[in-house]
Symmetry: C2
Subunit: 372 residues, 2 copies
């Protein structure tokens, strides 16, 4: 790794001659227009001067320290753009008057938030952004424990869990972030397609997040190979055991929360079976696992998100029962867990089946059969 | 409906004075930049002249004739953009050299098409574009039969099936079109985010298709209300009976095709159960059905697509067994059906569960609980 300044510095600290570094062109990108991407040329005429960062031959090692942090950050970016998209869409849905939604008793037209499908889309955004935020925070907490916990064994366990979850955060927050930014446009209707509302910008900006700092496939291959196969599923097994034990122990007099618990517990079973399937495939040949590694990492994200949302809802129900005053906020947490359990988590079943049986339909296909 | 010319025409046919019609502004849209969208002002000063099209008070009726055709066409647009995106992505994946994919025996780096996840994405695009094309053509054929079949009863049946499927084509080809255009970017990697490859344009252009000529929610509500509930599931029941009978009767000595048949048949069962669930919900209150009508229409699209791809694969297997020479093309048809059965159709299971149990988690939520 080198630092290559635009202008060289004299021995006395004053600015010297320009370095031989030129920007040849600026790319026309789909989004993130505030961050120019350039084609750079170094040393085309007199030769560019660069300064080595750190020690020779340790660049790749340094790069991976940066990359692990960057992956968590880009995951956070995927969530964050979706969060902004939700806030915009919610504001639009509450103020845009159009038609008379079914079941609304007031005279005349009403805001579109009362249409069942608009509410479905908003809840899809709300529940999934909350799941992704919880997943990201949980992972960051594990990494903090891995660095700072006084007990060595606890540090090692937390670090292993954080490492396990980094590709899940990166892959799932960004892939779901794209889906949610697209829903944000949909809630705006035709105005979402016009740049002035900002909905389209979220859709353009978030699209890079599944690509940079390692594509979703790279995250998924890291997850399948380094995070699941290398320790033979030990870190994942520990997480599954914790999720199962906590969900089984959860008892609260609130049917919606208990129903979300049951759905999450079923998801944990599916995740466990899929992990076994994937490890078996990997043992046969890594390719078999890599043909279904993206479905595998997304399955993990959905199930872990369901576990965290269930506990968020349980805490909210407990506080509501004890006279908390922020009732709308707390009801919202229960609404998120309930919607997620009934409309998002069913995807775990589909993905578990893909992990178990989907590899042959990829690996057996030759390049010639793909042609049009 | 009125025609409002830019320039008025004199009695002798020569061009007269400009009409009082002005374009106030051109919108800055996410895509379809070749089709300007304008804010128009009519009659701001002396009054604009318009000419009535057809008879008074029949405008809505005329509009729906236009709209039914437009919905099929926009569905076709969703498929067509995804098809273009596939062709671009396939070309890129076959020529872009990067890394050494697992299982590739050649020396040095190879085209990315050999990476299992790139192949998975390409097969997702190939199989789903073929399913959507088949669905669109099947629907158009039914509408042709509805207009031209010599037998009156056959005309009525075909018209009812065409009417049933128009919202399925519109909703599913456009929603899946967006997903596939996004995969097209992903296959291109970072270059997909740069406008010069064209991958980003597909993603921008296709995004309008779920919005104009009736959003996906409008299609889904039409599907649930006018197409399923109004005839108490009769048209859908006839389609389900046909699909089941044809799939059950299919016998071919080709394990992959028979496996796709089994998966399609399971999908038909799920579609039938979901149709019953939806009709029950609708009978309780239309809102209950409308809270899961988008999952319902997408379920229908996935299952009908699976049925059509299975028959495409069966025809291909038959031709291969009889010495056909276009073997790559025919193997590709079998590859599509097989991939679709194992990696796409599992979504039908998830969606059927959403249709059966997802409505309460939407309808019970008040607007206040959505706030951040």
């Amino acid at each position: 790794m080198f630092v290559v300044p635009k202008v060289l510095v004299n021995d006395d600290g004053s600015l010297g001659t320009p370095n031989d570094v030129q920007c040849l062109s600026i790319e026309h990108k789909l989004g993130i227009h505030a961050s120019p991407t350039c084609v750079m040329a170094y040393g085309q005429s007199q030769g560019a001067v660069g300064y080595l960062v750190g020690e020779p031959n340790r660049g790749l090692e340094y790069m991976f320290v940066m990359m692990n942090a960057a992956r968590l950050s880009v995951g956070l970016e995927g969530y964050a753009v979706a969060e902004r998209a939700y806030q915009q869409a919610l504001d639009w849905a509450g103020t845009r008057i159009q038609g008379k939604p079914p079941g609304v008793r007031q005279e005349g037209p009403a805001p579109i938030v009362h249409h069942p499908d608009v509410k479905r889309m908003l809840l899809s955004m709300k529940s999934q952004t909350e799941a992704l935020r919880a997943l990201t925070l949980y992972t960051a907490w594990q990494l903090d424990l891995g660095a700072q916990h006084p007990d060595e064994l606890a540090r090692a366990r937390a670090q292993a869990r954080g490492d396990l979850l980094i590709p899940v955060v990166k892959a799932c927050s960004t892939e779901t972030g794209i889906e949610l930014a697209s829903l944000g446009i949909q809630i705006h209707g035709g105005m979402g397609y016009v740049e002035e509302t900002g909905a389209a910008q979220a859709y353009r900006d978030v699209r890079i997040t599944t690509i940079y700092e390692g594509t979703t496939a790279i995250q998924s291959n890291d997850f399948a190979g380094r995070k699941l196969a290398r320790d033979r599923g030990e870190s994942m097994g520990a997480l599954i055991a914790d999720m199962r034990a906590e969900l089984q122990a959860l008892q609260i007099d609130h049917p919606a929360v208990m129903s979300a618990r049951d759905a999450s517990l079923a998801g944990v079973e599916e995740l466990e079976q899929a992990t076994h399937s994937l490890l078996q495939s990997y043992a046969q040949s890594p390719e078999r696992a890599l043909a279904v590694s993206v479905p595998m990492v997304r399955l993990a994200g959905y199930v872990i998100g369901g576990w965290l949302l269930t506990f968020s809802a349980a805490i909210a129900a407990h506080r509501l029962a004890n006279g908390a005053t922020d009732r709308d906020f707390l009801q919202g947490k229960i609404a998120s867990a309930r919607f997620y359990a009934s409309q998002v988590l069913p995807q775990a079943t589909a993905l578990a089946r893909v992990v178990a049986t989907g590899a042959d339909g990829v690996l057996d296909v030759g390049e010639a059969a793909l042609s049009r």
